[in-house]
Amino acid sequence: MSTEMQTRNGHTASSKRPWSRDRIEILVLTWLRWITIALILVVTLFPFYYMFILSVRPISGLLQDPGALWITAAEFSVDTYTAILRSPSEGGQGFLIFMRNSAVVALGTVFVTLLLSIPGSYAISRLQFFGRNKISGLFLAVYLFPSILLAIPLFVFFTRIGLRGELFGLLLVYVAQVVPVSIYMLRNYFETIPMSLEEAAAIDGASRLTIMRRISLPLAMPAIISNALYIFMIAWNEFLFALLFLVESRENWTVSLGLSQLAGSIEIPTTVLMAGSVVLTLPIIIIFFAAERLLTEGLTAGAEKG
């Protein structure tokens, strides 16, 4: 397209010659662009395709032909999934229980965080109060600080008060870690909502609480939902604190922790563990594609803690 435009317009002396630098560059870059796009797709998607393929093959098939890129109908089986999901008493690995734990912690984190961050972000964006800017600064610093630094005292503290091994303790840590990000993202959204709406309600005699509930909250709903999904993803994916707090109590393992702990064992076939990876990844992929636009906005605004 751009090549045509160049020759038709013929603005410069160089583009009139048949093999000018401009034309060569355009030709080369057009090709390079498509090669790059193909490469991006292969590099990003292949590991996930490989994950899926291995999860529906028997281990013997994998060992015989490690290079196979598709599954034959004869080989296809979902036994790996029953093996990974069943509880240990039925001879499985108990991933169904891990999924329940992960879901409880992640949903609990979302709920408690929003309960704190909605009023918190409203206060920071709308109300003048003593120390407001200092509190904002503190939250930003917390967001950028390394979690390994927190790991030590929290490990010691939770060991001492006996909350280690409990899902509730983990939930508290997650909430403290994501609340600053959540407030930051929601505050940015609140600031885009025109003040005049709230002022009008105030003139009509609505109290602060009514204004929040009836005006600000419904308007901020898109941001709140994307925030909720984002927090859910962080909590579902989290690994370090789950490892530190829960490793000794298997019945409380999250899916991430379960997979990482079992990955080292020799008795469990790789294909069964791959089924576990699919089980761990699938909820995130579904959420991501369901709310891609909302989430990418959230990612650029809040930037996940990596």
Partner: protein
């Protein structure tokens, strides 16, 4: 990254009195109270779960505390610098610090480079671009445990697909133990290099994992570049590479700077990736993994805290630089 504009706008119904004055109107007082009561629960949980623990780490770093004598240790323990002396005199810590630096710089640089290439390749619209863009982000959002497990399986010397292809089609003599080999000799164009195999592998993983983040930021910035600039340069006869060099790149540089600092901060203290890929073996022990090992395997809380503190101090310098130079600039743009 702070609020876009200073919010001086009056709040519903508030009387126009100067803020922070000793004599406050009842409305302003009510606002004070409302603001504080709305933020207090958050403040409490952040202070209890984050600020106090960080302060405690600082105290622990100066005490001789092990997991075993934890119950008897109090706040008024014996404070000394011996943890730091031990940490700095052990060769392991300095090595870990250097590995962390190499890992962060290379990982950040590659992630931004790949992110930039991807953003440029996907700049012009084409059929299915939305889907390609979404696919590009998957490595970044997928659970870390799942992706590291797939990578370790793909790189497995016995049945991993990379080694299978390498030995089958690329003429490798033997499978390469990517994640458990410290270094190897590689011949290229008649020259022989010694390369740190495992370290390069974890850097490649880091680039793969976080290039979508750079891609996202750079794409957003590219969309904001006015089309007229590009048009004008095109009319003047600038070739595509010249347009990139003199038009696009200067526009992208502030974003690249912010990205570099942010990614560097996060890669510098990242624990999950390396712990899950190599467990810190084969010359990949970064400080965060070392801290974890001191804490759990050795139960040496004092030394673990001292090392975490050194890591945090180095990081604090970077965060300070970030806040001072970039946080404000981003606001303006």
């Amino acid at each position: 990254m702070n609020s876009r504009k200073p919010r001086e706008a009056p709040v519903p119904g508030a009387a126009p009195v100067p803020r922070g004055d000793r004599k406050m109107s009842p409305m302003a007082k009510a606002e004070q109270r409302a603001g504080l009561s709305l933020i207090t629960p958050t403040l409490i949980i952040v202070v209890v779960m984050i600020v106090v623990p960080i302060l405690w780490t600082i105290m622990l770093a100066f005490q001789q505390i092990r997991l075993l004598n934890l119950r008897t240790a109090g706040i008024l323990g014996n404070y000394s610098l011996s943890n730091f002396a031990e940490v700095f005199s052990s060769p392991g810590f300095l090595e870990a610090l250097i590995i962390t630096l190499v890992y962060s710089v290379a990982g950040t640089g590659l992630a931004i480079l790949f992110g930039l290439i991807a953003a440029l390749a996907l700049r012009k619209p084409f059929r299915g671009r939305t889907l390609v863009r979404a696919a590009t982000l998957i490595p970044y959002v997928a659970p870390i445990v799942a992706v590291t497990f797939v990578w370790t399986t793909m790189l497995n010397p016995q049945f991993g697909i990379i080694n299978h292809w390498g030995t089958e089609y690329l003429g490798w003599d033997r499978a390469v133990p990517f994640l458990s080999e410290r270094q190897r000799e590689v011949s290229f164009l008649g020259l022989t290099f010694t390369v740190p195999t495992a370290l390069l592998t974890v850097i490649a993983f880091e680039a793969w994992r976080s290039f979508p983040f750079a891609f996202l930021f750079l794409t957003a910035r590219l969309q904001a570049v006015p089309a007229s600039l590009d048009e004008a340069a095109r009319v003047d006869g600038a070739t595509p590479t010249q347009r990139f060099r003199y038009i696009l790149l200067p526009q992208l540089l502030p974003t690249i700077a912010v990205l570099s600092v942010l990614r560097f901060i996060w890669t510098f203290n990242s624990f999950d990736d390396i712990y899950l890929l190599t467990g810190g073996g084969a010359g990949t022990e970064v400080v965060a993994v070392r801290v974890y090992n001191f804490l759990t395997a050795r139960g040496d809380i004092g030394a673990a805290s001292a090392q975490a503190l050194v890591l945090a101090l180095i990081l604090a310098v970077f965060v300070g630089v970030y806040l001072k130079f970039f946080a404000k600039k981003e606001e303006v743009s």
